[in-house]
């Protein structure tokens, strides 16, 4: 389909919403390339980070992407997603840094939580890796529509040397003039997908023909129910004796840690079917499938202050 439109009358021009969002994200990537020494893209193999990488590749074509990649590996990742991650890195000749939660647990620096979830444990390995590698800009796939505390997040979000986010130190962002100045030891988190919604991301994946890990599409999987979500059985701590494993046709809307990312019942095996299902869905992405955001009304705000995304 045509994606950019000029009317036959000439003189008037508009962009489609996807083109406008794409152009804005590319502008953000190029701004960081022009103003920072050592940027890195957080890349988990989940759909938002895949879209980020796709946009970065387009922004610098035909040259290589001038950023490396960083994955915070909880040790509870889906094997399909890790496999995708490694193939993407190899295909584009990129450098991948891994910060491992398991390694921190093995060394006794971090303790396993009683509930088995490792998402909150990502903060320390991430911040220490940022310090060790001296990354001064860190791209995240966060979107402002995901959660209320994120509605006010900046595109360029300043973090102090402890990676902490102080809502009072965030700078107003006017027009498209981003301010990336920071002191040595501080860094800036950059969110190129700030203005995208879940549906925009899916529509863009469909339009661009971007390949995704297969767990985003309906497949048969052994799952059990916990806190109203379908979780995958695995070494991370499930199922308990009281929990029944059954085979169901499911897909994942978001891909995080196996311990807290739930699947939804679905028979959508194609992108078009997934998009139609999302458009008709009456539950937001995280509400349906992320246990960690339900911890408390202010949970995300607290974790952002500590340096989490």
């Amino acid at each position: 389909m045509t994606t950019t439109v000029a009317t036959a009358t000439g003189g008037t021009y508009a962009l489609s919403h996807l083109d406008a969002l794409e152009s804005e994200a590319v502008h953000i990537f190029r701004e960081v390339a022009g103003e920072f020494e050592n940027p890195v893209i957080l890349f988990s193999g989940g759909k938002d980070s895949i879209v980020m990488l796709h946009l970065a590749l387009k922004a610098f074509r035909p040259a290589a992407v001038p950023f490396s990649l960083l994955h915070v590996d909880t040790g509870h990742n889906f094997p399909e997603v890790l496999d995708y991650r490694d193939r993407a890195v190899a295909r584009h000749g990129l450098r991948l840094h891994v910060a491992s939660v398991q390694d921190y647990i093995d060394r006794g620096v971090l303790k396993e939580r009683p509930d088995g979830t490792r998402n909150p444990l990502q903060t320390l390995p991430l911040t220490e890796k940022i310090q060790a590698e001296k990354f001064d800009a860190v791209f995240g796939g966060g979107r402002r529509d995901e959660e209320k505390a994120r509605a006010k997040e900046r595109v360029f979000s300043l973090r102090d040397e402890f990676s902490q986010w102080d809502p009072r130190r965030q700078r107003p962002e006017l027009w498209n003039l981003y301010n990336g100045r920071h002191a040595p030891g501080e860094h800036v988190r950059v969110f190129p997908l700030s203005n995208w919604t879940e549906l925009d991301v899916w529509q863009y994946i469909a339009r661009e023909g971007i390949e995704l890990p297969e767990i985003y599409f309906a497949h048969e999987r052994e799952v059990f129910q916990r806190s109203g979500m379908w979780l995958t059985a695995g070494e991370w701590g499930g199922p308990k004796a009281s929990e029944q494993v059954e085979k169901r046709l499911v897909r994942y809307r978001t891909v995080g840690d196996m311990s807290c990312t739930g699947a939804v019942d679905s028979d959508a095996t194609t992108l078009d079917a997934v998009i139609a299902e999302i458009a008709a869905s009456r539950l937001t992405e995280r509400g349906a499938t992320r246990a960690d955001d339900k911890l408390s009304e202010a949970a995300m705000e607290d974790r952002k202050r500590e340096g989490y995304f």
């Binding site: 003189g11 489609s16 590319v26 502008h27 190029r30 390339a33 809502p167 027009w175 139609a276 509400g287």
Partner: protein
Amino acid sequence: MSTTLPSTTPAGTTLTETTLLRFATAGSVDDGKSTLVGRLLHDSKSVLVDQLEAVERASASRGQEAPDLALLTDGLRAEREQGITIDVAYRYFATAARRFILADTPGHVQYTRNMVTGASTAELTVILVDARNGVVEQTRRHAAIAALLRVPHVVLAVNKMDLVDYEEGVFAAIAEEFTAYALELGVPEVTAIPISALAGDNVVEPSAHMDWYGGPTVLEHLETVPVAHDLAHCHARLPVQFVIRPQTAEHPDYRGYAGQIAAGSFRVGEAVTVLPSGRASRIAGIDLLGVPVEEAWTTQSVTVLLEDDIDVSRGDLIVPSKDAPATTQDVEATVCHVADQPLTVGHRVLIKHGTRTVKAIVKDIPSRLTLDDLSLHPHPGQLVANDIGRVKIRTAEPLPVDSYADSRRTGSFILIDPADGTTLTAGMVGESFAAPEPVKDASDDDGWDF
């Protein structure tokens, strides 16, 4: 004006590519702004089950009977505790016709900077008034901000019509007073709509109580206001962000200048000049994210290739040779001060214009402007947070600035504190308001032109 995108899906779905409208709201909690925004999200079915459940839970725990739609738009804990909105919050919703980005800003005087921030990227502003109070100081301030920031479309939403018995006369008087004031400030277009955010009249659904009103609802207007730009009279501008040089066997000599077109359009073959150096060349090719195109326009991100191997780097501005702005080291502008520390005469700052950041010094602050009544206070000596004023800035290097009236992206800048990186001030080059041209007295002009 009809820009339509090919649609292969039935109406009522949002599966096709549509257009995007960025708009802002200005108004205080008392005017029912959060309720209007909540109503817009709720009635356009953009609020999902789990969000609504969270609002119902929170409302119930505070002892409120009905779900408080204003809670849909509350963000940080400090605000929840104080029950106020203290920053710009961005909201997202879509209808079959269009995708929307809403910059939701608080309306109190101490938050002028947030309103300016929200309006800076907006194509449209919704200004809310309480039908019982009509046009008040705050309304005039909101109109002035929309005018200063040159927001192309202004909507006056006269809210709480249910509390004035849906009287046409009340609405008409307010609409008339506001429109006259806004046009005087140079606002190009005002659309007035009588609404009740609480009852839902004319927000998404047409009102059953106001047969006398024949215009669109707020959402209908948002869906149909033109977002296409007539570029025939725009200066074309491309700030260079980054130089792309693959230096690979496949592309040994590729040198592309990457940037987002800030205004107007460029064509292959066009004669261009690079500022501030003034070197000239022609456009040999335009890459639209890897696809060669003949023409590209604002706000596309492109890579431009030139016929000659001239020195171009980040911070330069590519412009048509026949329409180049003058470069200057003396910038006079209207500014909004956005930082907690003041801006003073003699302040050494950095100025970021387009993709170029240079040293500068604040030479003078000729006046401060009170937005409520547009009164000028000469030589205030400094500007504090939320102040609007005129400043004269001397830059260390020449900048190719446009007038903000001509080009919002190349006529704007920010001032940055070199010590800690704080964004101090938002600036708009040239005259404050697009006031109607004053009629010249013939006796002032004796026909001689030296």
